[in-house]
């Protein structure tokens, strides 16, 4: 089944959930609400007529100020049998920034979900091990959000966190020599 038919099929199965089906550059995107995303993904994965068995990519997008709902989690699904690509975009509002995890359907979603949490701050409910992945554990903020600055405003000044580390190191040194 090609991606256009698959998109119509989702609309048929989940009429409440699908908000829009878009076509650009012969690629189909289905924009859905986040509440039943796991059911939608599971349906696409397990239905023998659709058989979207490869999760190519999972990422988040910040539409800060451009759309009503701020975030979107984008799933790129591919069917090896029918060789069709389908894009599912789930809308995630800012005030309750969370969505169901799909790790138990696609094992490969584990790290991309962690990355999305790390860089955009979207919480994946039911994820087995939701920690930061690319950034250090004590990092503040989520860099891929549009309100996160590209450069720090410290300019020539030294990073304060770094100074704390130096001070702590000095204190420890004193302790050791005594």
């Amino acid at each position: 089944m090609n991606s256009k038919e698959a998109a119509e099929k989702i609309r048929e199965m989940f009429p409440e959930e699908v908000r829009e089906i878009r076509e650009y550059n012969s690629q189909t995107s289905v924009i859905v609400k986040r509440d039943r995303i796991k059911d939608i993904i599971r349906y696409l994965h397990s239905d023998p007529l659709l058989n979207f068995d490869l999760l190519k990519d999972l990422c988040g997008v910040d539409y800060s100020g451009k759309k009503e709902t701020r975030f979107e989690v984008v799933y790129h699904l591919y069917s090896l049998e029918y060789r069709s690509l389908l894009r599912i975009r789930a809308e995630v509002p800012e005030d309750d920034c969370s969505i169901d995890s799909v790790v138990d359907i696609f094992a490969g979603a584990n790290w991309p979900e962690r990355e999305c949490y790390d860089l955009l701050g979207v919480v994946f409910k039911g994820h087995p091990d939701l920690r930061r992945i690319l950034l250090p554990e004590d990092w503040e903020g989520h860099p891929l959000r549009k309100d996160y600055p590209l450069q720090s405003d410290l300019g020539e000044k030294e990073w304060k966190g770094y100074l704390d580390v130096i001070e702590l190191a000095k204190k420890n040194m004193e302790f050791e020599t005594k």
Binding site: Y24, N25, Q27, S29, D53, L54, L55, K56, D57, C59, V61, D62, K66, V74, H76, L80, R83, L85, R87, F106, A107, G108, A109, N110, W111, P112, E115, L119, R132, I133, L134, L135, P136, P143, L144, Y148, L150
Partner: protein
Amino acid sequence: MPEQKGKLRKKELTINMGPQHPATHGVLRLELDIDGETVVKCTPHVGYLHRGTEKLGENRTYLAALPLTDRLDYISSMANNVGYCLAVERLFGIEAPERAKFIRTMASEMARISSHLLWLGTHALDIGAMTVFLYAFKEREWILDLFEMLTGARLTVTYPRIGGVRNDVSEEFLSSLYKFTDEFPKNIEEYETLIDQNRIWLQRTKNIGIITAEEAVNWGLTGPMLRGSGVDYDLRKYCPYDAYDKVDFDVPLGKNGDTYDRYRCRMEEMRQSARIIRQCIEKLPEGPVMTPDAPKFTLPPKERILKDMEAMIQHFVLVIKGPVTAPDGEIYSAIEAPKGELGFYFISNGTGKPYRMRLRSPSFIHASVLPLLCEGALVADVIANIGTIDIVLGECDR
């Protein structure tokens, strides 16, 4: 303690492998819980090389973000460049001229050979076959010299452009590359005589790190990792880009999905790459290497910039502002990079910069499969498993 006499005390041990471990091929850290020689739990830690390429890409024009892609998989930067240019071209509906397509195909296959040679050398070195490393690097040097001849750079080439390639190929380059494709298959045979029947090599690779076809698909693996398990999925064949639909080649498949099968797949891929390069040289059509239909993307030639006012203004506007007539849309475009599927997901909002640039890097997904491979295996096989997934941390961490 008389009651403990004759009993060995058992204790689980946590060891830290990396980030500065020569076998991790970069800055990968593995936290291994071991019970004797067996790995009980393996937790990979990545991110030591995170440079925020996606964030940087959102703040640069489409033209200016191209050199960032070199620094992802720096072993095969040519393939990354091609993937990036192709994605932008698809987003804007630009078509590169035929000659440029053939040159790109040729160059990406050169990148595949250089990447696989590095993998072969280091993977064999890690698990105890020193000689093949020296052999593989001899040919890799040759490929890098050819890259230098073509682009002026050996590693970070930035050669393809949106709408074509930077400069045309010379006759001298083509004849040297043709000579390379003549000799290279014989060299592959040489490597195979070194390790293919070697008992130590076979024992350390056969039935090590087995991934079944279902597991491989479920984990989202691509490239030789997926084909080693016998799943026939190659973007060059099933979703052809550039000139791949005009050349003839086979897609090698494995059966058991173990380290040895993946080794066989990659060796065969190198042969096929040489075959593709040969056909590209033979079929190389005449014509321009930059498309004339996209003046909003292609920088005018340097000679014109120095003499012509209009060309200088165009150059200035393109570099500073970027193309202003961007469509409002999104695209996911992927290529078969040496490591697996390298995907670019662009969201454009009508300005000269992408609203969102997402990189789907194969190394990131392949590194996540390490616990599956390592848990229950021996510590020594962890090294073989890191080698077989063939990751580059620059691409994994982005």
